[in-house]
Symmetry: C2
Subunit: 377 residues, 2 copies
C-alpha cells in the first residue's frame, strides 16, 4: 500500500536555493587560512583533468574571448552526441545541468501546473517548481533502510495529476541508484495511466549527474518513452564543475520544445572548447570515476571505523546519519572549526539529522577522517 503523497501549496515567499557559507566566511569566522578550507559540501573534485588545465593554458578556443559562443554549439553538440550515444538533434547544451533544469521547467511546467518531487532530493527540483509558480507534489521516499528508494506506487499516483516528474538517479543527497527496473516500471506505469487521465503524460526529467559513478545510464529509455529528458553534467564524473556545462538528452521533438527557451548563448567560449575536448577523450571520466569510487570506499571504511554511521553510496559523496538534528549541528560546527565544510540540511528537512560529505582526495579526506576520530560518534 502506498502512503498518500503529501502536497504543499506554493509558498508565498518564493523558494530559493541555499548555499553553505563561502570559504572566505569560514576562514574569517574560525580564524583559519583561506587555503586550509576544504569544500566537502559541493560534490566536486579537488582537481580538474590535466587535459582541461592544459587546454586552457594553450588558449586555442577556436574563437577569441571577444566573441559569443557558436549559436549552435556545433562541435560541442557533436562531441556530446558521440559520448552519450545520441544523435546531435537529441542534445541540448546548457550552462550546467541547472540551466537544463530551468529550461525543462519553462518548457514543460506551465504556471499553475504541478510537478512531482520525490523528497529528499536535489533542492532545485522544488525551487524551480515553486518559482514557476507551480505546485510541488512532494512524495516521500522510502526509509533509509530501504535505501531511500522511490515509492513507486505513490509516485505513480502523484504523476497522474502532474506536468513534470523530477527524478535524480542516483539520488542526491541520499546516494543510491534506484533498484534495477524501478524507473522503467515507473515510466511504464505513467505511460499506461496517461490515456486514462485524458492528459498528456508528464515529462519525466531524469537527472543523471551522478550516473557515471553508478556505472549505468538509462538514457536509452528515451527511445521507448518520448517524454523522457535525461540530464547530464560535466561537473561530477568529468571533474569540471567550473566550466558550467550540462546537457539535455531526449527525442528530437522534445529537445525542439526545450530549445525554444534556450538563451542566445550562456556557455563561455573557453568552456565550450574545453568541454568539447573532455568529451572527446574516453578515458577522462573513466579514470576519475575509478579514482573517486576507490577513494569513496576507503573513506567510508575509515569514517565507520571512527564510529560514524555512513550510508552506502553509488556516487561521489557519503551521507552520514548523525542521529538527531541537534547533534548534526554540533558535528557540522566541529567540522567547520577545522575548515571542513559539510553539506547540512535545515530544520524540518527529512535529512536534518544527516550530513553529506563529498569524497575528495586522500590528503583532504585524511583531515576529515582525523576530525571524525576526534569528534567521535
Amino acid at each position: 500500500m502506498s502512503p498518500t503523497p503529501v502536497t504543499f501549496a506554493s509558498p508565498t515567499k518564493p523558494a530559493s536555493y541555499a548555499w553553505e557559507a563561502t570559504s572566505e566566511a569560514v576562514a574569517e569566522r574560525y580564524g583559519l587560512p583561506l587555503e586550509s578550507v576544504v569544500r566537502f559540501d559541493l560534490n566536486t573534485s579537488p582537481a580538474a583533468p590535466e587535459r582541461a588545465e592544459r587546454f586552457l593554458r594553450e588558449g586555442r578556443f577556436g574563437l577569441p574571448l571577444s566573441e559569443y559562443p557558436p549559436s549552435d554549439y556545433g562541435d560541442l553538440v557533436a562531441a556530446a552526441a558521440r559520448r552519450y550515444d545520441a544523435a546531435p538533434e537529441e542534445i541540448l547544451v546548457g550552462a550546467g545541468a541547472d540551466e537544463i533544469l530551468d529550461l525543462c521547467a519553462k518548457a514543460f511546467l506551465p504556471p499553475g501546473g504541478s510537478a512531482v518531487v520525490p523528497a529528499p532530493t536535489y533542492a532545485m527540483f522544488a525551487v524551480l517548481t515553486a518559482q514557476r509558480p507551480a505546485r510541488v507534489i512532494t512524495v516521500a521516499r522510502r526509509s533509509a533502510a530501504d535505501g531511500f528508494a522511490l515509492d513507486l506506487g505513490a509516485m505513480r499516483d502523484a504523476a497522474r495529476e502532474a506536468d513534470v516528474v523530477w527524478i535524480a538517479n542516483p539520488n542526491n543527497p541520499t546516494g543510491l541508484a534506484e533498484p534495477e527496473g524501478a524507473i522503467q516500471q515507473l515510466l511504464a506505469d505513467v505511460a499506461t495511466d496517461s490515456p486514462l487521465t485524458g492528459r498528456l503524460a508528464p515529462v519525466v526529467v531524469l537527472d543523471e549527474a551522478y550516473s557515471d559513478f553508478a556505472g549505468r545510464s538509462l538514457s536509452g529509455l528515451r527511445h521507448e518513452y518520448p517524454r523522457l529528458v535525461i540530464v547530464k553534467t560535466l561537473s561530477k564524473a568529468y571533474a569540471a564543475a567550473g566550466l558550467r556545462v550540462g546537457f539535455a538528452i531526449g527525442r528530437p521533438e522534445l529537445i525542439a520544445e526545450l530549445a525554444v527557451y534556450r538563451p542566445p548563448g550562456s556557455v563561455s567560449v573557453p568552456s565550450v572548447a574545453i568541454a568539447t575536448a573532455l568529451l572527446s577523450d574516453d578515458g577522462i571520466a573513466r579514470t576519475n570515476v575509478a579514482r573517486v569510487t576507490a577513494e569513496r570506499d576507503r573513506l567510508a571504511i575509515e569514517l565507520r571505523e571512527a564510529g560514524w554511521n555512513v550510508l552506502p553510496s553509488a556516487t561521489n559523496f557519503l551521507l552520514v546519519d548523525v542521529g538527531d538534528a541537534s547533534r548534526a549541528g554540533d558535528v557540522a560546527e566541529a567540522l567547520l572549526r577545522r575548515g571542513l565544510v559539510p553539506r547540512t540540511f535545515p530544520e524540518g528537512h527529512p535529512l536534518a539529522a544527516y550530513l553529506r560529505l563529498t569524497v575528495r582526495n586522500e590528503q583532504q579526506d585524511e583531515r576529515l577522517i582525523a576530525a571524525a576520530r576526534e569528534i567521535g560518534s
Copy 2:
C-alpha cells in the same frame, strides 16, 4: 498626440530567439574558407583585451576548474561595485546580460502579467515576456528621422497597466541614446501614475549594454527610482562576450528580490576571475571604446561615400537603411557571398528594410567597405 500602443496577445507557439547562420554554414554555403567569415551581426569586437588572454594563459583563477564558482561571486561583485559606483548589495551577477533579463522576467513579470516593449528593440525583451507567458504591449518608437526615440506619451500610457517596462539605452538595433532627460521624464511619469492606478509602479529594466559607447550611464537614477534595474554586460565595451558575464544594478531591496531566482552558479570559474581583472582596470573599456568610436566614424563615412544610407550611431554598430525589404535581402545575400554576415530583420519587422552592421577592426571593415562599393546603393 501619442499614437495608441499596438498590443499583441501572446503567441500560441512560444516566441524564441533567432540567430543568423553560423560561420560554418556560411562558409559551406558559399564555398569560402571558414576563417574568411566575419561576424558583422553580433556587435562584438574582433579581439579581447590583451589582459584577458594573458590572464587565461596564466591560469590563476583562484579556484581549480573542478570547483563551482564562489556562491557569492564575492571578488567579482566587489570589482563591479567599484566600477559602477555602487554598493556590493546593489550588484547581481549573471551569465551575460541575457541571464539578468531572464531573472528580471522571473522576479518582476508574473505569468499572465504584461510588459511594455518599445519596438524595434532588443529581441529578447519580447521573447522573455511571451515566454513567461505574459502579454507584450508593443509601443512603436518614433520615426527614423526622430532617431527612433521613445514615444514618451505612449510609453507612459502603456506603463500604467504593465508589470515591467523594458528599455535599451542606447537602443539596439537602432543605435542612438534617448534625448537628454527623456528617460528621467518617463521614470517621473511612471512614479506619478503609480499611486493613481492603485498598482505598484512597474519595474523599469534599463539595459545599458551600449552605454559606454554613448559615454553616459543613468545608473545613478536608481537612488530616486527604487524600482529601476540597470543592466550591464562585459560583452560590448569590455570586448569580452565570450566570458558570458553581466550584472544587474539596483537598490538593495530590488536586487534581493532578483537574487531569489539566481541559479546555484552559472558563470564559469575562468570567467569570474577574468571579469574581475578586467573590471579592476580602468583603462580597458576606455581604450576599446575610443578605438571603436573612431573606427565607427570612419566606417560610416566610407559606407556613405559608397552610397549607403547609414544612420547616426552612439554604439558599436551601424544601422543601414537599404530602402525596402526585398533590396535588404539582396544586399544581405551579396554580403554573405563575400563571407560578411550582417544582422537582418524578418519580414514584417519594422526594420525589414534595414541591415545592422557591427563596427569591427580596420582590416575587416575594409572588406565591408569594398563590398559596399561593389554592391552599390
